[in-house]
């Protein structure tokens, strides 16, 4: 009971924190203290956090090496755009349908490919991402190679921020649930997990489906922000980019995914003044980070855990100090 109570309190604290962050950013944006370029980057960070966190569920928590995240994002981007453009659905419903479409594709592709593991799965998902992209490229109804244009610009900072918060909250609770723990057990040792009666295929497909759903949501936000959905935004290089965010932050750490997504988006934006050397500096940053933190910024741990440990140690130290003082 004690633990559950403290967890709830922790959730509440997080919610208050996110409201506060939202309020501060919203005020900064409204007052135009943050320039419009950085406003766009903040929205991009939000979208990338959703993508990185959902990819982390597949790659970090469940240990399945997927390289097809941009493909799911593309499905969400196009389906939700079609919903708002052709069927005049409200934005929220369109996003949800986009996410569900990506989720269905995730399940359909997940069932056969998740029998593979390691490198084989990576190659299969890479192929899947490319197949989705090339299919879109050849469907003339959605613009083919010239992309789907004229999408209403509905994505606002509030939409991105709250969908990001919901995503993170959902993923955090999912990881701490029975399903999440069975996903972790698959990562740690699939054979042992199966021997303990865990349906490993189910756990893998579940992680894949949930990851795809949120990638679809992010895709919808993306296409409704830039008012264009174009196949070149969903290449395997983009999938690599999201993977980089996850690995940089630390595979298996949600805090890591958030930091990784924010950091990489920030570096890319900050270097946009130097197009010639941008990729070199970007790559150097990654190499240096990997040299000094090969396990990623956070390893597989959560920031909250580190914080709590730190606080506990302080408390202990204080307690020790006070007992010492008493003595």
């Amino acid at each position: 009971m004690q633990i559950i109570k403290s967890l709830r309190k922790f959730d509440l604290a997080l919610l208050v924190l996110s409201v506060a962050v939202f309020a501060v950013l919203e005020v900064l944006i409204d007052m135009r203290i943050i320039s419009s370029f950085w406003r766009l980057q903040i929205i991009l960070i939000g979208i990338n956090v959703i993508l990185a966190a959902s990819l982390n569920l597949i790659n970090g928590i469940t240990g399945q090496f997927s390289l097809g995240h941009a493909g799911f994002m593309a499905v969400g981007a196009y389906v939700s755009a079609i919903m708002t453009m052709w069927y005049d659905l409200p934005f929220g419903a369109a996003l949800l349908i986009g996410g569900l479409a990506a989720c269905i594709i995730g399940v359909l592709i997940g069932i056969p490919t998740l029998r593979l593991d390691g490198d084989y799965l990576a190659i299969a998902t890479l192929g899947m991402g490319e197949i989705i992209r090339i299919c879109i490229l050849n469907i003339q109804a959605v613009g083919g190679a010239s992309g789907l244009t004229g999408i209403p610009r509905l994505t606002t900072f509030a939409w991105v921020f709250w969908i990001m918060v919901i995503t993170l909250f959902f993923l955090k609770n999912m990881i701490n649930s029975t399903y999440g723990r069975s996903c972790i057990s698959v990562r740690e040792n699939a054979i042992a997990a199966a021997a303990m009666g865990i349906n490993t295929t189910f756990a893998k497909v579940l992680a894949f489906a949930i990851g795809a759903f949120f990638a679809g949501l992010a895709g919808g936000l993306f296409s409704h922000y830039f008012s264009i959905a174009h196949p070149s935004s969903f290449t395997f290089l983009n999938s690599y980019n999201y993977l980089t965010m996850v690995v940089l932050g630390g595979l298996g750490s949600m805090t890591g995914s958030i930091t990784g997504a924010a950091l990489i988006t920030f570096i890319t934006a900050a270097l946009s003044d130097y197009p010639e050397v941008r990729m070199i500096i970007y790559a150097l940053c990654l190499i240096l980070l990997m040299l000094f933190r090969p396990q990623g910024l956070f390893g597989s741990q959560e920031g909250s855990l580190l914080l709590r440990r730190l606080m506990n140690r302080r408390k202990e130290a204080k307690a020790n100090g006070s007992t010492l003082g008493n003595n």
Binding site: S35, W38, S146, G150, R153, S233, S272
Partner: protein, 389 residues
């Protein structure tokens, strides 16, 4: 203590980030330069086009500044890279708005321009896409209204169909044309449609229309059908990969009549696929051609070559013209205020550049002559300059 250090580091990083965020939001300061932004494809898939365009822009700016600038001020290029991606193009456009540029050279690739234009238009900054041919760049597809701050420095694709029709009817004097369309491309269908309309209006007949698909490699069946129609000209408005094979197979089959196409033919690869012999007696329309007897064009070509050690491409020439056009508009308006520039563009009477004399149509497309090129020893050479009306 160790942890304390980490916390200090983390908060220092946060403060730095915050400083960077707010630091970039500074107001516009008065400067003694006129800032023109470029949002071009410097890296990524279409980098070859973007870099050609950038070299053209830089050359134009150097020339203008050497001659004393505009309104006594020097032009400063704020060059951003859009990585050949629509989202990056939008992001770069946003940044240019923050930088306080007075006008923007919008991306050359239509998809990137389509992402950048709404942002620039929203900020009331005039933009010109040198080579973006998609009609939606200047006309909003939902409302059908012209986007007030968006222009292009080239004609749109269908215009090439009209131009080729008048070249074939008036200059070559041909009456019976067969058309071979790339059915998987809107570009080819648009060209064919406008060619047919203009050609029949001039009294010619289109004796037959056949189709193929992109990535096809064997065209013997359609070519046999066309041969039986006995046309005296064949119009193939496709892309160079298939066109190269079509020309080669047609010549091998004994079809000797001239062929024609659009700027989809414009690639050195065409000669490699078709072979120099098959290209004899073929014509295509384009935005720009090197004319040996035109001093203005040759001066540009030589200056470009001297600065970059290579020949300018279509995008280099169009972007070079775009910068000179903006400079002329700023000079005529007597002000580098974005609104004044936009008004100046709307009222532009004429501008004379290396890609020809131009003004803008009601839909903000460039109204100018197209170039017809033919092949000499496998190399494209200037054949004629045609305006459709």
């Amino acid at each position: 203590m160790k942890h304390l250090k980490k916390i200090v580091c983390a908060s220092a990083a946060a403060v730095l980030a915050a400083a960077a965020l707010t630091g970039c939001g500074g107001g516009e300061e008065k400067s003694d330069t006129i800032k023109i932004g470029t949002d071009l494809e410097m890296t990524g898939n279409q980098a070859a086009y973007g870099q050609d365009a950038m070299r053209g822009a830089q050359l134009a700016v150097d020339e203008i500044n050497k001659a004393g600038g505009v309104l006594g001020k020097k032009i400063e290029l704020v060059s951003l890279d859009n990585k050949s991606e629509p989202s990056e193009a939008a992001s770069a456009a946003q940044k240019l708005v923050d930088e306080g540029v007075v006008a923007v050279v919008a991306p050359n690739m239509s998809s990137n321009a389509l992402a950048a234009v709404p942002i620039l238009n929203g900020a009331k900054i005039p933009s010109i896409s040198p080579g973006g041919t998609n009609p939606k760049i200047t006309v909003d597809e939902n409302s059908g209204k012209v986007i007030p701050y968006s222009y292009r420095a080239c004609f749109i694709d269908p215009y090439q169909g009209k131009v080729m029709a008048s070249f074939v009817a008036d200059k070559l004097g041909k009456k019976k044309v067969a058309i071979l369309i790339d059915n998987s491309s809107d570009y080819a269908k648009g060209l064919a449609k406008f060619f047919t309309e203009a050609f029949t209006a001039k009294g010619g007949t289109v004796v037959g229309t056949e189709a193929y698909l992109q990535k096809d490699t064997d065209f013997n069946a359609v070519l046999t059908k066309i041969k039986d129609l006995d046309p005296d000209f064949i119009y193939v408005p496709g892309y160079y990969q298939e066109v190269g094979l079509i020309l080669k197979q047609a010549r091998a089959m004994g079809i000797t009549v001239p062929f024609g196409g659009g700027d989809g033919w414009d690639s050195p690869t065409l000669a490699e696929i078709a072979g120099a012999d098959a290209l004899a007696g073929t014509y295509y329309s384009n935005h720009y051609a090197i004319q040996e007897d035109n001093k203005k064009v040759m001066d540009f070509v030589n200056a470009y070559k001297a600065a970059n050690n290579q020949e300018p491409g279509v995008f280099g020439a169009l972007t070079y013209d775009t910068i000179h056009l903006l400079a002329q508009v700023i000079k005529d308006a007597g002000s580098a205020d974005p609104q004044k520039i936009a008004d100046g563009l709307a009222a532009l009477k004429s501008f004379s550049g290396v890609t020809g004399d131009m003004s803008f149509t009601d839909t903000h497309d460039a109204k100018k002559a197209a170039f017809i090129l033919t092949f000499k020893d496998g190399k494209p050479v200037f054949a004629d300059k045609i305006s459709a009306d």
